[in-house]
């Protein structure tokens, strides 16, 4: 593998380019008109404009990207996360063109991309799933009957959804009645399928996921867990590895279930098995993401491995760099903060020009950055500007180091969620490691209370 095209943008494109450069692999970037001045375009050895800003007219144009790859004689395509990374049709087209796809095979992507089929596959592999429907629900009457059996609150989810999109919590039958058609319509519009299903909403839960890796020689290993419970709108904001306040017994169960899940689909390359862990440490399979995750750097920090390099090695047909699970060691504690262009209280998008981008100069803190000063964060893509990744010997040290570093970060010209981080880092439930997916909602409620008082 001598030349790789990165079918993505922003920080993840820069991240993949970095590893390729270290491995002596030439890189090709594709970019939209909105991203012409982005750092990743300059960092790649070659860069090609693919279209106007809307994602459907640029980064989602799989066939055109493949044509560039053929013309440029690339050996492989790295899809990053989001965009085309979990599009089975794209993977088939890439392979048909004689190009290696750096990710799992199309069949696995399809199986795990359909959340209903993923649930069924996991049940067959004896991996516990959240109580819910095992078939698509087509009518509101059926949904109401099933919800009454499962018990409210429930989550109504698009079968083909992901990334927090296409899911809504319903507290009661009235809410389900109001949301049912809307979720179906959105599922059809966003994902091309209006299949929806119901899951019990697990209260006071933690969102914990396990990084898995497989190769073409039958090896499957895990690289420990990440706690991703600090979320807003079902999307992650702060992640940490390892998870605090998890018993060794529950941790072992998570690893076993994740490896079984990966084995059940003969998994190859990087994947993540997401779980909900309730207050009694009962674990439930949520979904499997068949790609590199946004939060992969914290796993890299605590294991010392470069996961993009592992992806490339697997795609080359080599064995995983480490195949003996016992040899994979966890060292210290890592936290990741997603710096979003958004209001820190309402979480409303805040596109605009970054007039000042001072990322500090602490060599001991990792920044996976996507933008340059004077760059524009446009409304066309997600709001992620940078990721701050802090690694230390203990969780307490990692928190203190994060507080010190984040206080020096300065981004001007648009709103960011930076002020939220210091609030969360000072939250008692966060400090104790006892927080759940309600942490941000609870904090907002407390803020309202304080204002009233």
């Amino acid at each position: 593998m001598k030349k790789v095209l990165i079918a993505n943008r922003g920080e993840i494109a820069s991240r993949v380019i970095r590893t390729c450069k270290r491995l002596g692999i030439e890189t090709v970037a594709v970019y939209s008109e909105a991203d012409a001045e982005m750092p990743f375009v300059k960092e790649a050895d070659h860069a090609f404009l693919i279209g106007p800003p809307p994602i459907q007219q640029s980064y989602l144009k799989g066939q055109e990207i493949i044509e560039i790859a053929i013309r440029e004689n690339v050996d492989a395509i790295h899809p990053g996360y989001g965009i085309l990374s979990e599009n089975a049709t794209f993977v088939e087209q890439v392979q048909k063109a004689g190009i290696t796809f750096i990710g799992p095979d199309a069949t696995t992507i399809q199986k795990m991309g359909d959340k209903i089929e993923a649930r069924q596959t996991m049940q067959r592999a004896s991996v516990p799933v959240v109580p819910g429907t095992d078939e698509g629900v087509s009518t509101l009457e059926e949904a109401k009957r099933i919800a009454a059996e499962i018990g409210y609150p429930i989550m109504l989810k698009a079968s083909a959804g992901g990334g927090g999109v296409g899911m809504i919590r319903c507290e009661d039958e009235q809410a389900l009645g109001q949301q049912f058609d809307s979720v179906k319509n959105r599922a059809k519009m966003y994902f091309g399928s209006d299949a929806v299903f119901l899951e019990k909403f697990i209260s006071n839960a933690r969102h914990i996921e396990v990084q898995v890796f497989g190769d073409y020689h039958g090896n499957i290993v895990h690289l420990f867990e990440r706690n991703c419970s600090v979320q807003r709108r079902n999307q992650k904001v702060i992640e940490e590895s390892p998870s605090p306040s998890l018993s060794e017994e529950a941790r072992a169960q998570l690893f076993e279930a994740a490896v079984n899940a990966a084995k059940a689909v003969n998994y190859k390359n990087a994947g993540t098995v997401e779980f909900i862990v309730d207050e009694n440490e009962q674990i439930y399979f949520l979904e499997m993401n068949t790609r590199l995750q946004v939060e992969h750097p914290i796993t890299e920090e605590v294991t010392g491995y470069d996961l993009v390099e592992w992806q490339i090695e697997v795609a080359r047909g080599n064995e995983l760099p480490v195949i003996d699970q016992q040899q994979i060691e966890l060292s210290g504690h890592a936290l990741e903060f997603r710096v979003y262009a958004e209001d820190p209280i309402t979480f409303m998008p805040s596109p605009g020009e970054i007039t000042k981008l001072d990322l500090g100069n602490d060599d001991d803190v990792r920044i996976d950055n996507g933008y340059a000063e004077n760059g524009k964060v446009t409304p066309f893509y997600d709001p992620l500007i940078s990721k701050v990744i802090v690694h230390a010997a203990t969780r307490e040290e990692a928190i203190e180091k994060s507080k010190a570093y984040l206080a020096t970060l300065n981004i001007e010209g648009l709103k960011t969620n930076l002020p939220l981080f210091s609030e969360i880092l000072n939250e008692e439930s966060f400090i104790q490691g006892a927080y759940t997916t309600s942490i941000i909602a609870n904090w907002l409620e407390a803020q309202k209370g304080e204002k009233v008082n």
Binding site: R186, E342, P351
Partner: protein, 71 residues
């Protein structure tokens, strides 16, 4: 006459009304999409939709007039 303006830059995701429709306060007349988030545009007054200035897929800037409602 009340003009509903866009609160931010984004694309028009859905247009939920037609010219001539009567709308109530709080009714979602349009949904915008910005940074992968849907932002509903609600009628601030009750009345008749007399003009629609944006179609599905159009890009709008902050402050652009989207819908005009005549009370």
């Amino acid at each position: 006459m009340t003009q509903l303006k866009s609160s931010m830059a984004g694309s028009v995701f859905t247009v939920n009304v037609n010219v001539g429709d009567n709308v109530e306060v709080g009714q979602v007349v349009m949904v915008l999409e910005s940074m992968k988030m849907e932002i509903p545009v609600e009628a601030e007054v009750a009345g008749k939709v007399t003009e629609i200035n944006a179609n599905v897929g159009d890009f709008v800037n902050e402050g652009d007039t989207l819908v005009t409602i005549t009370e």
